[in-house]
């Protein structure tokens, strides 16, 4: 098992209100899986994805990745973990406006202290993989939404991560561009990448190998899709 979530709980506290975003989540994901998480807005999908991506911490419970309990790691160790193991794709692409597409993708490698020549080579490969190489020197604002999301996928895969997390990757795209992005994700999964994707689209969820439905901070259904 690549990932094990044991009794994960996430509370948000403000001065007067305590909100439970995740309630006693138990989930195991094997290596090479493609899991789609679905559910209505506010059910805790993105919170779960953030915890899986270690950019948010659970209030209670254990998050085991491989052999390691990530809830025990400090901030610096988590940063190192993310560098080496994770790739992200966001609904709103989250590219940095001031950097070119090439520089945005390279950013994922910069924190690995990789030599520049190797970085450039890997960036070029990643851009080719999502057919965005001709836009390398453009800024995000000069690209269409579909192109920006392909660039974001290139950034997610350039570090050859063990896990790709995609938060509504097609949410801001039209049908055609959404289909292209799903093709790429499926292709990556076929090549062995483990992918966890939050989506509102049942048809895109059906393209995953497994589907997890959430409601009110809990997992209510976890089924394997027929291939």
């Amino acid at each position: 098992m690549l990932i094990e979530l044991n009794h994960i709980q996430r509370l948000y506290r403000s001065d007067e209100v305590e909100t439970t975003a995740l309630h006693d989540i138990e989930l195991g994901i094997g290596s090479g899986e493609f899991v789609a998480i679905m559910g209505p807005s506010g059910c805790g999908k993105s919170t779960l994805l953030n915890i899986l991506g270690t950019i948010d911490r659970p209030t209670h419970g254990a998050y085991i990745f491989g052999e390691q309990d990530l809830t025990k790691l400090n901030e610096a160790a988590l940063a190192a973990f993310r560098r080496e193991n994770l790739g992200y794709v966001f609904q709103s692409f989250n590219l940095i406006d001031e950097l070119t597409i090439e520089e945005n993708i390279e950013l994922a490698l910069i924190y690995r202290n990789m030599p520049k020549s190797e970085r450039r080579e890997r960036v070029a490969q990643a851009m080719d993989r999502v057919s965005i190489g001709h836009r390398a020197r453009h800024y995000p604002s000069q690209l269409s939404g579909g192109q920006q999301q392909r660039a974001a996928i290139a950034r997610a895969i350039v570090g050859q991560p063990r896990l790709i997390l995609a938060d509504e990757p097609t949410g801001n795209l039209d049908t055609e561009n959404g289909a292209q992005v799903m093709d790429i994700l499926q292709g990556l999964n076929d090549e062995g990448a483990t992918i966890i994707m939050v989506t509102h689209s049942p048809s895109h969820a059906d393209l995953a190998k497994r589907r997890v439905d959430m409601l009110d901070g809990q997992i209510v259904v976890s089924v394997r899709n027929a291939i």
């Binding site: 610096a76 994770l86 989250n94 406006d97 604002s141």
Partner: protein, 807 residues
């Protein structure tokens, strides 16, 4: 868009964004106050002598002589020029000599030393100072008259109408009752020559060598012409005049290179003798520049904060446009807001000017006043100017927002990049100025300290002088006085001498040549010395011997064909001797006048009595067994406090010379004139640098609070991709420190150029060490880092999920 809507929008912005408002108002108030205060100082400095009627047709004549191989213009000139000049240039309508000299005023209750000015009868026709009482045509027409300043008249006669009163004045041992024939109206502080008493020159004085010898500088020469073209004609004819009238040896030695006419209003900015009340035009202009740059720095803050906040107002702009506002309406709104902001800053700025001006006046010895009609009209102009400067770019930029894109939620990265480049550039300008100013202040203050502590070749501590003791009485009386001084406990040496440190007292130069080598012209300072002079000043003997009583030929007052002299190292070189030893026993003589031969019996180290700006003059020391005219007395003491020794000296003085004022001077005070102005300028530069840095840091703090918050999203992405807090912190800090370091390079280059030029005006100067530049840049970077550290750290430590939610 009407005014009330602009005001309403402005007030809403002020309430909502308090940090932005406070920083802008404080910055602009400081900038405006600095600009107005220094503007008033500059105006004051440029107003010198402008009040005098026909000031532009009044000129001072100064001689240009070669000192240390370079031409040096003096404020004074040889009085031997007076009659030949008048004869040669009929265009001179009036002309006067003005010789400053200390006199003793004896009243019923006191004996006082006063600085008098001895002048020709034409003085008030040449320099038309207004008289409160008396007739300008006759008040100085005869010897035995005196004109008093309003202050002195009141002090001596308890009334300003002192005409007809008698005043007992002792000068050079001649006690005379002078008739008060006029009282000068109190002169404005911005007057170059401020006489306390004017006394007509009398025959004994006019017959003295100071008035007849070319090698002697007697004082100031002023002349009045009818129009500027006359002055140009006189200046053009000066070379011919010098060739026709100056003795050949004077011309050959380059001692009188040229004579320059300087218009009265320009005198304030000419380098004069030490002690002359002059200012450096560049230093004054630098003050004006500092004021303008401080204001510019505050304007930069406003522009930077407006553009940085642009995104926050994007939605407002979009909504206004959607609701029908034209681009012009928006430009008017934003310009109006900027002008209102400057207006808000003007109120505290005026209060700051009122508080700061007296302090700045006290520091610089200025008399600038806040003239409200002028200051208010100036402030109003500045408010509009600052408003337009600060508001123009944000107004044009903000009003260009595309409402559809803004309301659709997409950002405007191109505008953002342009804005951030502009901000970067402006921050570089701000810090370049602040760093350049700081380096300059540091160098000026270091140089002032260097001049203060400069090894002048003599011991300055424990040294008291009483200038020009002629009034004490006969030479024997003066010797007796000095003998009494020697008996004071703690006194180790007493001597009389001619030239005082700091350029005070008298200075005589002459032309000498070794016997057998007449082509070796040596232009040397003549120093008459009494017994123990070398011990008094603590000079080191490099070869030979000092003067003593055993060798009768040492005393130049003894009739003899040969006299012993001691020269200094520079003197030995000027006479063509390679080493001090080589000069021993050598003989030389004056190039003109008597044919007395001088034999070198000793060589001492060089002494710098004059300014650190001028090269050390070669000196020749003569020994006089008794005090001659214009000699001062000096006392060296140790083991007792200065006050105790001075008290004892005063008691002796009052016993032995009851009719003469005792006026002790400290060597350290006399020398302080050499660096006081520079120290003052250094302090003003440092204050300017402090204001500039404070404004720049305030701007950086506010800018960091906006931009760091704006980069929260980026920080989220970077941390999601594995960046540690340290890396993010480094990235964000780098964003702020890079422009500071870039500005450091620009500021240092500018400061290096300015300071190299300034230091080149000094003969004795510090090296322009890289430590000054590195020190200032590192300090500026550290202070800037501390300024932005807290906010940067807060964002860098944010959890990535929270940071991404911020978007």
């Amino acid at each position: 868009m009407n005014v009330s809507m602009i005001v309403a929008a402005f007030l809403r912005q002020m309430r909502r964004h308090r940090l932005y408002t406070v920083i802008n108002v404080i910055g602009l108030a400081l900038g405006l106050a600095t600009c107005v205060t220094l503007g008033l100082i500059v105006r004051y400095e440029f107003s010198y002598d402008q009040w005098i009627p026909d000031a532009d047709n009044i000129y001072r004549l100064g001689e240009v002589e070669m000192i240390g191989g370079r031409p040096s213009e003096r404020s004074q000139a040889p009085f031997a020029l007076f009659d030949p000049l008048k004869a040669a240039f009929p265009g001179i309508s009036h002309m006067t000599r003005a010789r400053p000299a200390a006199v003793t005023v004896i009243t019923a209750s006191d004996v006082l030393s006063v600085d008098a000015t001895f002048v020709d009868p034409d003085f008030l026709q040449t320099l038309p100072y207004p008289l409160l009482y008396g007739d300008a045509r006759t008040a100085l027409s005869r010897p035995g008259q005196i004109i008093l300043s309003e202050e002195k008249a009141r002090a001596y006669f308890h009334t300003t109408d002192a005409v007809g009163q008698k005043l007992t004045v002792d000068h050079d041992g001649h006690k005379t009752d002078l008739l008060v024939t006029g009282v000068l109206r109190a002169l404005p502080a911005n007057t170059t020559l401020q006489p306390e008493m004017l006394i007509p020159l009398d025959s004994p004085m006019l017959g003295s060598e100071v008035f007849t010898q070319w090698g002697m500088v007697g004082g100031y020469l002023f002349l009045h012409v009818d129009n500027p073209s006359e002055a140009r004609g006189i200046q053009a004819g000066m070379a011919g005049f010098i060739a026709a009238h100056t003795p050949e040896e004077v011309r050959k030695a380059g001692a009188l290179r040229d004579l320059r006419l300087r218009a009265l209003p320009s005198l304030h900015f000419l380098d004069g003798e030490i002690g002359d009340s002059t200012a450096s035009r560049n230093a004054v202009l630098a003050l004006g520049l500092i004021g303008l740059l401080a204001l510019l720095s505050a304007v930069i803050n406003t522009v930077n904060l407006s553009t940085a906040r642009g995104l926050l107002r994007a939605r407002e702009v979009a909504m206004r446009k959607t609701l029908g506002a034209s681009r012009r309406d928006l430009v008017v709104q934003f310009l109006g807001e900027a002008i209102l902001l400057a207006g808000c800053a003007a109120v505290p700025a005026l209060a700051l000017v009122e508080v700061a001006l007296p302090a700045i006046n006290a520091l610089g010895g200025w008399g600038a006043t806040v003239s409200y009609p002028l200051v208010l009209s100036g402030m109003l102009t500045l408010i509009v100017l600052v408003g337009v400067l600060a508001g123009a770019y944000p107004a044009v930029w903000l009003s260009a927002y595309d409402p559809a894109r803004v309301l659709a939620g997409s950002r405007m990265p191109n505008m953002g990049r342009m804005g951030s480049r502009l901000r970067l550039m402006l921050v570089i300008v701000q810090f370049s100025f602040a760093i350049g100013l700081s380096v300059s202040a540091l160098v000026v203050l270091r140089q002032s300290a260097f001049v203060r502590d400069l090894d002048r070749g003599f011991q300055r501590n424990g040294l008291l002088f009483t200038p020009v003791i002629d009034d004490v009485g006969t030479p024997s009386a003066r010797v007796a006085l000095m003998d009494e001084f020697r008996r004071v406990r703690g006194v180790t040496a007493v001597s009389d001498f001619y030239s005082m440190p700091g350029g005070n007292g008298f200075s005589t130069t002459d032309y000498f040549a070794p016997v057998g080598a007449p082509e070796q012209h040596a232009y040397m300072q003549w120093q008459d010395t009494g017994r123990d002079y070398f011990a008094l000043f603590g000079l080191r003997l490099l070869a030979g011997r000092m003067f003593d009583d055993v060798h009768g030929e040492d005393d130049r007052l003894h009739e003899s064909a040969e006299h012993s002299v001691v020269i200094d190292e520079s003197g030995a070189r000027a006479l063509g001797f390679v080493t001090p030893q080589a000069a021993l026993g050598q003989v030389f003589r004056k190039e003109h006048g008597r044919s007395t031969i001088f034999r070198v019996v000793g060589v001492v180290n060089d002494v710098r009595l004059g300014s650190a700006r001028d090269a050390v003059r070669p000196s020749v020391y003569f020994h006089t067994g008794q005090p001659v005219r214009f000699m001062s007395a000096g006392v060296r003491f140790e083991g007792r406090s200065e006050r105790e020794v001075e008290g004892d000296l005063r008691t002796i003085w009052h016993r032995m010379a009851p009719d003469v004022a005792f006026r002790p001077l400290r060597a350290t005070d006399l020398l302080s004139e050499d660096y006081r102005d520079d120290e003052k300028h250094g302090q003003l530069l440092a204050m300017g640098a402090g204001v500039a840095i404070f404004i720049a840091l305030m701007g950086m703090y506010a800018l960091s609070s906006f931009t760091v918050a704006r980069r929260m999203f980026e920080v989220g992405i970077r941390k999601t991709l594995g960046a540690t807090t340290g890396r993010v912190l480094g990235l964000l800090m780098g964003q702020f420190l890079r422009p500071v370091l870039g500005a450091g390079v620009i500021g240092c280059v500018l400061a290096w150029m300015a300071m190299r030029s300034w230091l080149s005006g000094f003969d004795a100067r510090i090296a322009l060490s890289p430590a000054y530049f590195v020190g200032v840049v590192v300090t500026a970077a550290l202070v800037a880092a501390l300024t932005v550290l807290f906010q940067t750290l807060r964002v860098a430590r944010a959890e990535p999920a929270r940071a991404l939610r911020a978007e």
